[in-house]
Symmetry: C2
Subunit: 187 residues, 2 copies
């Protein structure tokens, strides 16, 4: 404990006086790396090791067999367990959806597609308290952003109502999330 205290004290001494910690709507520490005090989201750097996998979507090719995109969805630790218990997403829960272009080929099980080139990420953070009413990327119970693969720390989204909500409208009844694709929420 002494070592931890020493680190904390040293960190405080080195911080500029106007510094604020990156925080979520709920100050949930597990989401600390996802959002800053102004509500700017970023892709968490550790989601592939620290998050739990939720589910996959395969978007059919425009012509012929196979899938043109595969989407892989991860949730911050505890998100799925809390959902199974409460039937809803807890404030501060983070969802990260990777969008991949695929490679498709003939394999021993048939014509098979797999993730090949990352196009970017959708990041959502649950916020039932409307924590950032002046931020056009927050509302309807979530913070919303898309990130191109080249820049996981700066979104290209400008208004979630135009950029994000239209594609989620069919999932309005399930808090805008397509929960049917996520086996871990069902158990």
């Amino acid at each position: 404990m002494k070592a931890i205290h020493a680190v904390v004290l040293t960190s405080l001494i080195l911080l500029p006086i106007n510094w604020q910690p990156a925080m979520t709507a709920t100050n949930d520490p597990k989401a600390a790396k996802v959002v800053d005090a102004s509500g700017n989201l970023r892709v968490p750097g550790d989601y592939r090791t620290a998050y739990q996998f939720l589910g996959s979507w395969a978007v059919a090719a425009d012509q012929g067999p196979g899938s043109k995109e595969i989407h892989l969805v991860y949730a911050s630790p505890g998100t799925a367990a809390a959902y199974r218990k409460n039937g809803r997403f807890t404030d501060g829960s983070v969802l990260v959806k990777e969008v991949f272009e695929t490679a498709t080929g003939s394999m021993t099980t048939g014509t098979v597609s797999h993730a090949q080139t990352l196009k970017g990420w959708f990041v959502l953070i649950k916020d039932s308290k409307n924590s950032h009413p002046g931020n056009k990327l927050w509302g309807n119970g979530w913070g919303w952003s898309w990130f191109d693969a080249a820049n996981p720390s700066k979104t290209t989204s400008t208004d979630y109502k135009a950029d994000c909500l239209p594609c989620h409208e069919p999932a309005r009844a399930t808090d805008w999330i397509y929960v049917q694709g996520y086996p871990a929420l069902k158990q």
Copy 2:
């Protein structure tokens, strides 16, 4: 530490004298729940929360757009990091592949398939030391088993050379694993 010691001592007292811990080829504790001393594999109960997601395969429908199966692959903690560092799978590494039948429908992004009904699991454990030469489910550097969804603790596989290897033959050069589908191994 006293409390831990007390638990260990109590456990030892209660064990039958012929008891042996479930163990892996390398006594790697992270794989302790996957294999017993005779080399019988089982599906680890906690892979969805404790393992790391590796990748997804979408098997094209026999007719029309969409995917008939989605395969989701998880690896025991540290497997991907060790592979990125060493270029090979460490002994005791466990891979779990879920095989799902899908549901396919029209969504805002097109014709999309997602995991619907679990058919079962493939489980592999890396074993470069040929630890179970008399067990027909071990060889070629791995322990191999398929599990129907109804019974994650007892395999239906009887001989990996007939049941498992044929479908993996095209991946012989990459230690029988289709590594091209696993982005986490590439970074």
